[in-house]
């Protein structure tokens, strides 16, 4: 059991923890942080796969490393957008969690479509 397998199991546990956080935490900010934990678990999984594929004198397969670098930056911009939306929602309506039930089914918009 070399240490790479340990990291693999740790990645699986992180994914489970992140998913648990998303399902149970009511606050939007906590859901977003749990998303980041889930995402870092998936990237760690890529890291383990890369480490297992170490060959040709490299300490790891560079292709999954490229996936992870792209993924980390995409995950950051997604959570930046989510955090900004959560802050704006808090500013406008004082809500910091998804309202219970489906009263938020439809935005009541007597919209005058400014054609």
């Amino acid at each position: 059991m070399n240490t790479t397998e340990w990291f693999g199991i740790a990645a699986a546990l992180l994914i489970g923890l992140g998913l648990y956080g998303i399902l149970t935490q009511p606050m939007l900010l906590r859901k977003i942080v749990s998303f980041n934990v889930l995402g870092s678990g998936v990237f760690l999984m890529f890291g383990v796969i890369a480490r297992r594929g170490a060959a040709a004198g490299l300490t790891g397969d560079p292709v999954p490393h490229a996936f992870v670098i792209t993924g980390i930056v995409v995950a950051f911009s997604a959570s930046a957008l989510a955090v900004t939306m959560a802050l704006k929602l808090h500013e406008d309506t004082g809500e910091s969690a998804f309202p219970e039930g489906e009263d938020a089914t439809a935005p009541d918009n007597p919209d005058e479509d400014k054609a």
Binding site: T3, T4, E5, W6, F7, G8, I9, A10, A11, A12, L14, I15, G16, L17, L19, Y20, L23, T24, Q25, P26, M27, L29, R30, V33, V37, S40, F43, L44, G47, V48, I49, R51, G53, A54, A55, A56, L58, G60, D61, P62, V63, V68, I69, T70, I72, V73, F76, S77, S79, A80, L81, V83, T84, M85, L87, K88, H90, G94, S96, A97
Partner: protein
């Protein structure tokens, strides 16, 4: 054998901080645990043998993500009681706990059952790397073999920033993001913001430059530049530009536009779109990386600060 102590300790710490991030009721403790978790993840990537990803994780995790989440945590922390009422009941907790445990167990089993001669593209990369005249294999994959992914990646960043700006109230469009700039006077915060950025900018450019041959590159360099600009903004030494400023738009678009032009020029100078002229690949790659470093730095910093919140003349 000597790794057991380090890797074991690292994994235990990472898992305990992740549990802390997900489970505690106090939002601020959870966010701080997450920032520390990000730093530890950087160490984990070094233990997994990839310095490029460790640099990215360390630069993003302890830098801008920390600032973004801490700012949100302080704004939203008095809302914990209100959100508590919406916490799902005991049964729902247990059920989702079981589901997540099952998924984690399945994945752990899956990782242990992956094939032993692990299929790897490392030999293929090392065999075609000389053609790209770049010695760092990860940069070779990012900028040559899978240049298409990386190009779209920089477009995703521009879209994310425009999406964040889409939340501005119409009256404030064209205004400046971030808080009102106090007149900066001395103190540890301002002193830090006066001394660190020059070193940071130098390190950012150094990381971008060595990215071709050693671990580093445009994402890592751009992230550090973004962190340094944000430090000066937080301390009030500089002020965020209005969003409709022309040079800001040019800086945002510089990376993807250079990539696009280099891709198109591939038809003329090389065998096809997004192909590099043989023997001339490294200069083109460095040009693309230089432009991308600038736009990544500008875009990430403005993403973390948020939409415009005050008129341009203030």
């Amino acid at each position: 054998m000597s790794d057991v102590v380090l890797h074991g300790g690292l994994i235990l710490l990472i898992l305990s901080l992740a549990v802390m991030t997900v489970v505690t009721r106090d939002t601020f403790a959870a966010i701080t645990a997450f920032v520390v978790y990000g730093m530890l993840l950087g160490l984990a990537w070094v233990a997994l043998g990839s310095i490029d990803v460790a640099l990215t994780e360390a630069a993003l995790g302890s830098g801008i993500t920390g600032a973004l989440l801490l700012r949100a945590a302080v704004c939203l922390r008095d809302k914990e009681a209100a959100a508590e009422v919406r916490r799902p009941g005991r049964a729902a907790h247990r059920v989702s706990g079981l589901v997540c445990a099952a998924i984690a167990a399945g994945l752990a089993a899956m990782v242990l059952m992956l094939p032993d001669p692990a299929p790897s593209l490392a030999p293929a990369v090392m065999e075609s790397l000389p053609a790209t005249q770049v010695k760092n294999p990860v940069t070779g994959v990012l900028l040559a073999f899978r240049a298409w992914d990386t190009f779209l990646e920089t477009v995703v960043l521009v879209l994310a920033l425009v999406a964040v700006w889409g939340m501005t109230p119409d009256a404030l469009w064209g205004g400046r993001p971030g808080e009102l700039r106090q007149h900066a006077h001395d103190g540890p915060l301002v002193f830090l913001a006066r001394v660190l950025p020059p070193v940071g900018v130098m390190l950012g450019i150094y990381l971008f430059w060595i990215g071709a041959d050693e671990p580093g590159g445009k994402f890592q360099g751009g992230t550090i530049l973004a962190a340094m600009w944000m430090l000066t903004l937080l301390a009030g030494l500089t002020d965020a530009p209005p969003v409709s400023r022309r040079w800001l738009r040019a800086a945002m678009v510089a990376g993807p536009a250079t990539f696009l032009l280099a891709g198109l020029s591939g038809v003329v100078f090389a065998s096809g779109l997004f192909a590099y002229p043989p023997g001339f690949a490294k200069p083109v790659i460095l040009l693309i990386e230089a432009a991308s470093t600038v736009s990544i730095g500008v875009t990430l910093c403005l993403l973390a600060i948020g939409p415009p919140s005050r008129p341009a003349n203030r």
